[in-house]
Amino acid sequence: MSLVAQVVAQRGSLALDVDVEVADGEVLAVLGPNGAGKSTLLRVLAGLLPPDAGRVVVDGEVWDGEGTYLLPHRRRLGVVFQDALLFPHLSVADNVAFGLRTRGHGRTAARETAADWLTRVGLDGMGGRRPAELSGGQAQRAALARALVGEPALLLLDEPLSALDARTRLTVRAELRRHLAEFGGSTVLVTHDPVDAMALADRVVVVEEGRVVQAGTPAEVGRRPRTDYVARLVGLSLLPGTGAGRTVRLDGGAEVAVAEEVSGPVFAAVRPESVALYLARPRGSPRNVWPLRLAGAVPHGTTVRCELAGAVPLVADVTATAFAELGLAPGTEVWAAVEASEVAVYAR
């Protein structure tokens, strides 16, 4: 294990208590809502915030704990912040060379290495520009080069893509993925965007209110969310209940038919596209039919995402045409149908 950290820190009303381990070459995503403590964790790892307790060990070197507190400038790390934060008074090349100069490299050598890195991140020939002359995506690439140029043992990424517009985010994400694959140290990516976590990370820990609530590979976490927050993020409706044969009795009392035998406390998860809506009770095969009420609707690409309230709170995606034809509006009473085979079920 390259990074081993147990971090306990109190920030206002937030009590952070999180353990993370990241191997060499591995990318760990810390996924969570705003105020969950992700940034506090990152600041502790970077040495910008002394933890109240716990330890941070990188490559066997103690950074925090056991009576040690290594100042941030003595840690072999690189950080990419949300807003790039390139020094506005330095050229792009000098920004990238900054970490080399502070660590004692000569001016010429630092310039050459910085130029190499600018080429690697696709900013060939832009070293002479001022940060203000770069686009958001270019600035974030330069920030990545600046963080990696010192060959850190630990790379910290703090919402590196969230300040970018949608199209730029797509390309920068793909490039970031390539650079992370080449990077030999440990990476911790802090994000509230599940797509970033799914696309970039080998493993995900979900942090809510300062605690790890779920950990696993991105696929596992996406398929089997354990909290409403994660379920909403990946677009699933999460229904906690108790299994009894091919039925899950929800904590609220309603019953959901499933395709396999289950028992004990379980989650039933339903994808929005597998929910069909009707104005009258549908006839035919579906075993799961519930009368619900439309609580809200938001356009979502070519579909409309409908939030349904009632005995089985669900999210349904319907096409814009269907939405109009059904004459749906907040408050409309609808019947929701889901095939039993479309309900994923797993132990709580």
């Binding site: 970077a46 040495g47 840690r75 690189g78 807003d83 934060l85 020094f87 502070t102 963080a147």
Partner: protein, 265 residues
Amino acid sequence: MRRPGTRVPAPLAIPAALAVAFLVLPLAGLLVRAPWSSVVEQLTAPGVGQALRLSLLSATAATAVSLLLGVPLAWVLARSRIRGRSVLRALVTVPLVLPPVVGGVALFLVLGRQGIVGSWLDATFGITIPFTTAAVVIAQTFVAMPFLVVSVEGALRAADARFEDVAATLGADRWTTFRRVTLPMVAPGVAAGAVLCWARALGEFGATITFAGNFPGTTQTMPTAVYLALQSEPEAAVVLSLVLLAVSLGTLLLLRDRWLGRVVP
């Protein structure tokens, strides 16, 4: 087209116009009554040149000392977490509101021959400070440095401290961070503070005349020269005042972007 309701109501307009007249008329009077025919002659009179040179030199020296000591002090006030910081801030800004003549008396009591530090300096090194050019610089620094400190502290507080975090993660200790990141980023604030400090030092009168006196060639600056001239040759006083006015206007011009209401986009 005028938008309705943009007229200034009379109860505000009339006092405002009076205020403008009150502030501008004396300066206009100075220009009107200036002995323009003999300006060159007055300016080249031996005493005037001396006073002007001493003023420029001492104000520049006071600004340099203020920068050397005041910028670090501003950093301590803005960035450090030492205890009693607010008390410290109050203490160092006292000279802003203190009557300068009181400052002069205070300096005299500390650095004068009988003063706490002054007697020691005299006994150990044979140095006496009062009524020397050094005393002029000290008096000006005492009065002007708080302007620089307040200005630079404001700039430091307005600067994005996250850049300092970035520098730390790139291996820069706090001193390197200050030199290579913080200082360049607040440079405009430091420059503005320095100009303000210099202008204040240049106009310093009360503390200077109390602590340094008014000896032509060694301690007579423009303001003290104006005071002396007004009693014997009023025309010279007017000309000297004109020079100080020109310098003040020049200072304003330098700072116009910062303080004359230019809206930053």
